[in-house]
């Protein structure tokens, strides 16, 4: 037996409208589910940070009554810690209050303590201590466009953060404001939306204001990004200087998800939804679509998925792991969660009848970290 096969296991964290569930597996087919953690609080953001010889799960939790906060666990959910003074709190003088943590993004392995967060109201934050304390990015907070940014249906938030290996190029996507880019590690920001349609605005090609739903970086091609927009699927090959449509071949250009492969160039996944007014899988038939040629063509993947499914998949309710082949995971607003151990070719159901799935994240971890029964 391959010793690595027994040394590694998989963790899938499922954030829902009413709590967090954790699933573990040794083969990505049979899953053991535990939870809920944080029952009756929504969990819209999760990161599983495996850098620095530690597996830390960070979760953005929001109670309707008691507000938002960040917890972390270094023992796969056995215990949770909330920094005494809060990990993310708006500083004096901003006259703002944290509404929701939409994104928690561990930086590159070469910067093991750095974790970014995207929040509502639209803001980007950076931690250098593994996500225990974050500092507000003032360049974006004080941006002159701020008064013109709007709110999507889910709120006004920075929901996607992509940092290049150097740490200097940072892309942020916000609803609704579009894509903004920093070339100085986050000190200053400029909109980069050329080629992305904002058909719902008087000027359909504005400098900013696009309703981007998710962006992700190509794993191996420097400067290449993918974006799923409010109608429109795009690729940029020049660090977002310009975008071109890659929607041809998809059953719909609407959706929320954009995933990229952890290592391979040109591979990305989307989960199309029919249209603005009908936010369901086209014809009620749920499918993931994968490109292996940077959007030139798409392959429909639905093996193992239900015959009929009318629930949407939200922007962070999908994830990949770092294994080979890559695992693909997603959850629906109907509370079903699916996993694929072969890059989407076949799916198995991990859980069903959970509350609305808001976020999933998966990682390869040492089997020794799992509870004894696993």
């Amino acid at each position: 037996m391959d010793p690595m096969a027994t040394a590694e296991s998989y963790v899938l964290a499922i954030g829902t409208k009413k709590g967090l569930w954790l699933a573990t597996s040794q083969d990505r087919k049979d899953w053991s589910l535990s939870g809920p953690h944080f029952l009756m609080s929504e969990v819209p953001s999760i990161a599983i940070d495996t850098r620095d010889d530690r597996t830390r799960i960070l979760v953005g939790v929001r109670s309707e009554h008691w507000g938002p906060t960040v917890f972390h666990s270094d023992d796969l959910g056995g215990s949770w810690t909330e920094p005494e003074n809060g990990a993310i709190t708006f500083p004096d003088g901003t006259d703002a209050a944290l509404e929701r943590i939409w994104q928690i993004y561990p930086d590159a392995g070469s910067r093991p303590g750095v974790v970014w967060a995207g929040c509502e109201p639209i803001s980007v934050w950076k931690s250098t201590d593994g996500g225990e304390h974050f500092e507000l990015n003032r360049g974006l907070w004080d941006h002159p466009h701020r008064s013109e940014w709007g709110a999507g249906y889910g709120g006004a938030a920075a929901h996607s953060i992509v940092v290049d290996p150097t740490g200097e190029k940072v892309h942020v996507a916000m609803s609704t404001g579009g894509v903004y880019r920093s070339l100085d590690g986050g000190a200053s920001w400029e909109p980069r939306n050329k080629g992305i349609s904002a058909y719902f605005m008087p000027d359909p090609n504005p400098e900013f204001g696009q309703c981007v739903h998710k962006i992700a970086a190509d794993a191996a091609v420097d400067g290449r990004l993918y974006a799923q927009n409010h109608h429109g699927v795009y690729r940029s090959d020049d660090d977002a200087e310009s975008w071109e449509s890659i929607a041809e071949g998809l059953p719909a250009d609407f959706g929320f998800v954009m995933l990229t492969h952890p290592r391979r160039a040109g591979t990305a996944w989307v989960v199309p939804l029919k249209a603005d007014g009908e936010r369901i899988p086209p014809e009620g038939k749920l499918a993931v679509h994968r490109t292996d040629d940077a959007g030139a063509s798409w392959k429909r993947l639905d093996a193992g998925l239900p015959e009929a499914e009318y629930n949407a998949v939200l922007r962070d309710a999908a994830s990949v792991d770092g294994a080979e082949p890559a695992g693909v995971y997603f959850g629906t607003r109907g509370g079903s969660v699916y996993a694929s151990a072969d890059e989407g070719e076949h799916f198995t159901e991990v859980a069903s009848h959970l509350p609305d799935v808001l976020c999933v994240r998966a990682a390869v971890v040492s089997t020794a970290l799992l509870p004894a029964q696993a």
Binding site: H65, W66, G67, T69, E84, T89, F90, D95, A97
Partner: protein
Amino acid sequence: MNSGDAMPADSVISVVLPSVLQPLAGGQSILTAPAEAAVTVEWVLDTVTGGYPALSRRLRDETGSVRRYVNIYVNGNEIRRLQGLVTAVAPGQEVLIIQSVAGG
């Protein structure tokens, strides 16, 4: 200050916590603030949550506003119907914190 401190009842203001928040106050159900004269609800909250920052964040956001679904009662009246955080509380009175009945 906590409920274990022995002070005359008419020289303290008691803040009664719902059970869900008590773990954030060291397991206490009642926190007390010493008061010789009438003070504001804001002062009482600042005083009793000063040592419990996580509890403080559950009740009020960074701007100091009481969270939307947190209800605070003085003498049976919700402070939004009185003078909000500047509602006066007299020594011997009780401040009751109750989560609103909301959600689905």
